[in-house]
Amino acid sequence: MAVALVLVLIVVGSVLFHLLSPWWWTPIASNWAYIDNTIIITFWITGVVFAAVVLFMAYCVFRFRHREGNRAAYEPENKRLESWLTIVTAVGVTALLVPGLFVWSRFVNVPSDATEVEVVGQQWQWSFRLPGRDGKLGTSDTRDVTADNPLGVIPKDPNGQDDVVVEAADLHLPVGKPVKMLLRSIDVLHDFYVPEFRAKMDMIPGSVTYFWFTPTRTGTFQVLCAELCGQGHPMMHGVVMVDTQQDYMAWLGQQQTFAQLSAPKQTGSADETTGQTAALGPEIAARLETVGSR
């Protein structure tokens, strides 16, 4: 009796917890509301199954508990019932899988107008690289990583010279424009994860991985590393700011290119360098704009 009651309370309690507890996902800031919807479908189907199985158990425990003189029924098999249950389960599983795979195909097929942004992880910080006026990221190699070339951009590749390098600082993205995040690491596995964007992907030294999304609202979002990367892992936070187009352009105008960063230091004072960047920035931004609208 008590056991049956506890089983019922587990179902009721779990459902109430789900509905009433304050712990839920963060407000979404990307186009991946599809993923949230798939999770909602999954909660419904699995919730119904959980409640049905446990309540059925509770009923059995109550109804068929041992009393003096009771004797169990003898029924080794029931082919009809077993077939029906198998079919119903298969239908339920299909109802989960089909929307899931449908959304996955959207997730892995990057729209052609997505702008590329490179994220580079290292113990324990985030850096970023944006294509310059040529719209192309230069190639990179971990063996070219030095103090002056922290991302390992291959110096001889002309495509890399105008790349915008954001070392260990915040990334800004324009709202409403799809971006393809190209993910790279120079030491161990990391994982670029912004809970509000719903997307994440590991970064593997020696490979370039990716995911894409469209930021749907402006704001400041925390980047978390989601793949254990050593003892600094929980401190490996970063910031992504989703800006309006104007704010984004202003930010981009203040960034430096790879060529500027790797130019010999003694050729000018810090002030001159900043001046150059300020002059170059809008051109790069304009170029990115045309790339973005292709």
Binding site: V61, A72, E75, P76, L85, L224, G230, P234
Partner: protein, 589 residues
Amino acid sequence: MVDITPADGIPPAEVAEVELYHPHGWWTKYVFSQDAKVIAVQYSATATAIGLVALVLSWLMRLQLGFPGTFDFITPEAYYQFITMHGMIMVIYLLTALFLGGFGNYLIPLMVGARDMVFPYVNMLSYWIYLLAVLVLVSSFFAPGGPTGAGWTLYPPQAIMSGTPGGQDWGIILMLSSLILFIIGFTMGGLNYVVTVLQGRTRGMTMMRLPLTVWGIFTATVMALLAFPALFVASVMMLLDRVLGTSFFMPAISEMGEQLQHNGGSPILFQHLFWFFGHPEVYIVALPAFGIVSDLISTHARKNIFGYRMMVWAIVGIGALSFVVWAHHMYVSGMHPYFGFFFATTTLIIAIPTAIKVYNWVLTLWRGDIHLTIPMLFALAFIVTFVNGGLTGLFLGNVVVDVPLSDTMFVVAHFHMVMGVAPILVVFGAIYHWYPKVTGRMLDETLGRFHFWVTFLGAYLIFFPMHYLGLMGVPRRYAELTDMTIMTESAHHLNSFISIMAFIVGFAQMVFLFNLIWSIRHGREAGGNPWRATTLEWQTPQTPPAHGNFGKDLPIVYRWAYDYSVPGAKEDFIPQNMPGSFGPSREPA
């Protein structure tokens, strides 16, 4: 549906019995014993001892998560060492060793009607190598730099680099060496279990008359023999990378401004090898639990297991399918995204045979005569937690749903519910069930009920809310949850609550241990068959069974393992070795 008389369907003995090795003294009887039952107790005791270490480690990590910044000695390095050792111990050195080495050794020969395992000497070696593996693992706590903190998945490159505790010290070397030893030891035991089930069954014990416990352990062992080699080669290769500087898993790396002498290796290759082992490993733990819980439910509900043949095929089907789902652990690993379509499909297909098993357990309760004994309580609790954890698997297995949830506390909650709590509840139920056979005495009922309620409800309260932290986006493997903009104040309070529950549930395990030790001398006398069960281990002439298990003659099996409440029979159970004239056998033909 026909009566089976002793003359019918019982094949003659094919080979003469082999003389058992008889111990000559205390050492060969209790220490270097070749009796599977002694080896089983040795395996179980060692696994329990190392499991206590894992329990303490879980307390330490919950101290940090529940009350961050309060305990100075839990540095990030220490925290990662705690989680790594906790995970590895629980999965490999406790659950695998206990289900296969412990329950497998005790139950296989008794249940199939054999005098012992077919290779008793190799069986003994298996335990001693396992013990050595455990000692090597424990030694890493005392080695310079401490144990490895690479996470139980040991992903390279970080596992062998200086940013990870033990990466450039002894920790990772001892961990890999211990795994290699474990696999060698396990292979010796595993071959024994398989051959004993295939070749050591007594007359009349056909494969389709085996209790589901044996089917579960047998299938899990076959899987382990196929899966562990992948971990073996991965461990050897990583050891070579670490010690000799090879580059199996190590690409070119710039570590803290310095170029390492590695080039061309593939970190993701390790993940494929690891999970080719790691996913079957989940079922290596789950299938014995499935088998055992089927027998617990059937015995204590006094009713045949519903759909026995379907249950057997579901076990075999799950075992086979579990070898083609491994990369669902790697949806966000950066492998080719098209793999996601394949692995999500196979993963969700595996839900079908798994669901069938759940239906058949609850349908066994339907119209039963349910005795709410402690083993039955644990079996019911298993169904609740297993259904809960299995259903959250449908979130994580469905590739796109996994993307936001992967590497969060949702995953931690899921796998603890489904392969931590659920199988361990079966372990407890099984111990309360078979302890009378092992010792001749019952475990204390009052302490047992206290242990059950605190463990079941406490564990549910730990892991059910934890899913919602993951849904919020809280990552797993974070030694510090400070400065997290996504975490509300109440989420931190929830973490404190989970930690307090963890201490309470841990405390209840001390009560259980006390019960285990106290009842050896003070428990109520059990008699030979206290649960009035049908299977052969309850029909031994002595309790505890003597060396050789059965008396002068081996039992002859006339019926399946589930003749409970047979209509027309006087008793509500008919032992497997009872000839047909004592009541009809209705086993499915």
